[in-house]
């Protein structure tokens, strides 16, 4: 199935939860936050949140800024 991650279209197998999707997409263990279809999904809910076809994910972290 196709999902959109940080504005990019990605092909990913169906039936995965958010935690599994993140494992396939990024290699980070630092402080990130995730939005699924414009709603923040708290870390404790990642494993129980299924990712569906056409879902839109935003994965953010922190960078230098003023």
């Amino acid at each position: 199935m196709k999902i959109t991650v940080n504005g990019e279209e990605k092909e990913i197998e169906s039936g995965l939860n958010l935690s599994e999707v993140l494992d396939r997409l990024i290699t980070l263990d630092h402080k990130i936050a995730v939005e699924l279809n414009k709603n923040v999904i708290r870390k404790k809910d990642w494993e129980t949140t299924e990712v569906l076809d056409s879902d839109e994910l935003e994965i953010v972290h922190f960078v230098g800024g003023g």
């Binding site: 935003e58 972290h61 922190f62 960078v63 003023g66």
Partner: protein, 256 residues
């Protein structure tokens, strides 16, 4: 030092808040942060790159620093609110520097959307520090909406033009004597920072003036001293301005 800077229930010794952007290296940023004496730094929320492993920027910050996430790059209420919620989730802080930009050339704030976003975020429990154009009426509305401080610009972000409208800042100070005013954006040199504090700003936030200086750490120290000098001058009370001279030495008794 007894002159504490109190903001939303937290007491700071330093009245200088600094950014983390534009430094040439992490070590230069760390040296500048140390030299500045700042206790709070701003960070930006950004998409994680999917094509490579990235380092955790936060690991390069002094763990003692309070981290203030911003909503830089947001041009409307929806994006600012979403960015704020993501920042809170990742950092576990309710503190937020709210920026809703109105135009990419000047980066001037959209005051109307800033107020709307502030109302939503305050209702969600955020401690909203709003960056806005230096307007007394908007300052009042932002304070009424529940912001614990207001952050008027001195001049456009990254311009280094200093306090372009000292009258507005003075009017805000005089008309809102109890408000916490943090001048944000536009500082170029230490005299700009001193000027803002002399006019009664409680604190100042800057990034580019330090990060783009030839010697960032030395400039950070200069800013620290200027902020202290400006604050002491404000507390001391300046002499009145006069059009004509007032002799410092006695006129009577001079030999003829």
């Amino acid at each position: 030092m007894t002159d504490k800077f109190n903001l939303a229930g937290v007491s700071f010794d330093s009245r200088l808040i600094i950014g983390t952007g534009k430094y040439r290296s992490h070590s230069e940023m760390q040296d500048a942060h140390r030299a500045s004496g700042a206790e709070m730094v701003t960070v930006a929320v950004n998409r994680v790159p999917l094509d490579r492993k990235t380092e955790s920027f936060l690991d390069f910050l002094d763990p003692k620093m309070m981290i203030l996430p911003n909503t830089a790059g947001c041009y409307d209420v929806e994006h600012a609110v979403r960015t704020a919620r993501l920042a809170r989730e990742a950092l576990e802080t309710d503190w937020l520097k709210l920026e809703v930009i109105g135009d990419p050339v000047t980066l001037l704030p959209d005051n109307e959307q800033t107020l709307e976003a502030a109302k939503i975020l305050v209702s969600e429990g955020f401690i909203v520090l709003p960056y806005f154009s230096d307007d007394l009426i908007m300052a009042k509305k932002l304070l009424d909406s529940g912001c614990p401080a207001i952050m008027p610009l001195a001049s456009p972000i990254g311009s280094g033009m200093g306090v372009q409208n000292p009258s507005n800042l003075r009017i805000m100070r005089e008309q809102l004597p109890d408000a916490v005013i943090i001048v944000d954006a536009g500082v170029g040199v230490p005299s700009d920072a001193a000027k803002a504090l002399e006019l009664g700003a409680d604190a100042i936030l800057m990034n580019t003036a330090i990060a783009e200086a030839g010697n960032a750490a030395q400039m950070a120290e200069a800013m620290k001293l200027a902020v202290r000098a400006g604050r002491l001058a404000y507390l001391s009370g300046r002499m009145p301005k006069r059009l004509y001279a007032s002799a410092s030495s006695p006129i009577e008794g001079a030999i003829s």
